[in-house]
Subunit: 341 residues, 2 copies
DNA sequence: TTGAAAGCGCTAACAC
DNA sequence: GTGTTAGCGCTTTCAA
């Protein structure tokens, strides 16, 4: 593989001149510049990004730390959408992405910080990692520029992107209440997740705003898992037959609730209205199609990359980025007419 | 950020010794080795992978070239599963993945080969790229070790992984014929795709083996698109009411066919049996759940990474890797009882 | 407009 | 066992 040295020799100039010519500096005579370019092409020259990065001290690379990338293969495509958004932005701004291979099994496992330092990534985007993960904390305390997805953190070189989960939950509640529902349950994820906390907050607030009482008894955690949600919802419906609607913190959990309803002989939506969260592809395919709060996950990825690059190039000041969400009314919610019990 | 030079100074030894100690060479006295490690820890030393790669001429990095990573957000998770498989293997063998940002929009776009050369990736995995893509051809002709997913190519440093698509299609046909179907149509993808060609081959072969005649008229291309398939299938069913079963080269296209059937007032599976291909998550959620040929896409990714690393480290000789597939019988196929027309 | 020289952080002969 | 030295391919002062 040829180097600028080879080009220099072939062109009869110094490597300095070649470097300058190739990088489009103006202080090279137009004709030597042309000659150098010709020779570079002829020699099939490719600049060595390693060497350049070594001296420039930046790599035009952003690291990606993702959890939940494992065989069990999530049915949702959220991780993928976010990745796609990041990829899109990076394509436009000539950053490449390095996806770290954080093997849990491998001994002598490296921390996220070490991974980032070794590869000298300019910054890192973190997704799907619990906010109390010690490695996460370490990286936040380091000087590595960092953008988190759905985990709140701010700092000189730290930002995050999320959607307004409080508002999203409120939209769901507004919708249900406007349909005449009164006894609304919630199947939340788990308390450690920021988004769960926010959605619960929105659930409460939504009820209060509409002068409905919030019943802690009607809230269960489904751990973002379909089967667990099914069980939890089954019990909930058993103990509280007065429930006419359920708001779920994820679509997958909503599917679990749909199953639980079916086991109780309840029809959806006639006997039980259900609202999900995320709007994954499945949501519109199941039957009946699921009413849900749609998040623009692609946009979240895109925004995360933009925010990170903004931090890196010191053009962006706002460290928080809120992406819109939207209520998608489909067929799992319907007017509550009958008086139950 | 500290370097081996700093450590050398602090330890009062030469940088060579530090390098050797840190890399676990045996020819360093146990006590200096220990001291060096202590100092390294104290100084929070991180090796600079760039510098090391520069001199070692390898980066422990594999490139990933993927098409179909864009906003429209594929409903299938195939790309993701393959990526996950690659990620898993890389985690075990300490390779990192760089996802190239191939912006189509950006001017002065670089070829895949250039991207790989600049980053000095050790090898590259290519997925979802058409086999006649000029950039793909360029990279195959280069000396960059390369593994393709579902595109056949072999060479000194080139291999590919795929599933047995001929066999997969035959399984589908066997299944349908065993249910008594005779007039079986096929909705294929498009002629440029290797897998399409293979599945068509399997379709023909499957019919011939069972002494059924192959009718070219009953094969249409749906371009792996749900809407297009719906249209094509709608017309097909109109012109050929004798059709009792349809084999589709993807699940998404099968959904299109289901829609088309519905528009014709045909019930699935009573009036029309349908078999898909891929077994995406949606397949088991739609109603009725789709009978399909399942591909282990995670395994494909894992195998692709293993093959590439095998080529890189010169341990693997077999340049082709076949991953299993499996017929998943669900509810869109049923015994053909009635005599149509 | 061009070149010489230093250095980014590391490894690897080759001495001692 | 340990150090000296010469690079890997590039950018960037500083001089000419």
């Amino acid at each position: 593989m040829s180097t600028i040295k080879d080009i220099a020799k072939a062109a009869g100039v110094s490597i300095t001149t070649v470097s300058r010519a190739l990088n489009g500096y103006s202080d090279v005579s137009i004709k030597t510049k042309q000659r150098i370019h010709d020779i570079a092409k002829e020699l099939e020259y490719s600049p060595n990004a390693l060497a350049r990065s070594l001296v420039m001290k930046k790599t035009k690379t952003i690291g990606l730390l993702v959890s939940g990338l494992n065989r069990s293969g999530s049915k949702d495509h959220i991780v993928m959408d976010v990745l796609t958004g990041i990829h899109e932005y990076c394509g436009e701004y000539e950053y490449d992405i390095v996806l770290f291979s954080t093997s849990t099994s491998r001994q002598g496992e490296k921390t996220y910080t070490q991974l980032c330092r070794e590869r000298r990534v300019d910054g890192v985007i973190v997704q799907g990692i619990k906010k109390d993960d010690p490695y996460l904390i370490e990286i936040l305390n380091s000087d590595i520029p960092c953008v988190l997805v759905d985990v709140p953190a701010e700092g000189e070189k730290v930002g995050f992107v999320t959607t307004d989960n409080v508002e999203g939950a409120m939209k769901a509640i507004d919708h249900l209440v406007s349909l005449g529902h009164d006894k609304i349950a919630m199947v939340n994820g788990h308390d450690q997740a920021f988004v769960s906390q926010e959605r619960l907050k929105g659930f409460k607030l939504g009820l209060e705003n509409l002068e409905k009482t919030f019943h802690p008894r009607l809230v269960v955690n489904g751990d973002y898992d379909e089967a667990i949600s099914e069980e939890k919802a089954f019990q909930l419906l058993q103990h509280h037959p007065e429930i006419t609607a359920v708001f779920c913190a994820s679509d997958l959990m909503a599917f679990g609730v749909m199953r639980a309803a079916r086991r109780h002989g309840l029809r959806v939506p006639e006997d039980l209205s259900i609202v999900g969260y995320d709007d994954i592809a499945l949501a519109s395919y199941v039957s009946p199609p699921l009413t849900t709060i749609a998040q623009d996950t692609f946009e979240m990825g895109y925004a995360a990359a933009r925010l990170l690059v903004g931090i890196l190039e010191e053009t962006e000041v706002e460290r928080i980025c809120m992406v819109d969400n939207e209520l998608k009314i489909r067929e799992t919610t319907i007017k509550q007419a009958k008086i139950k019990k």
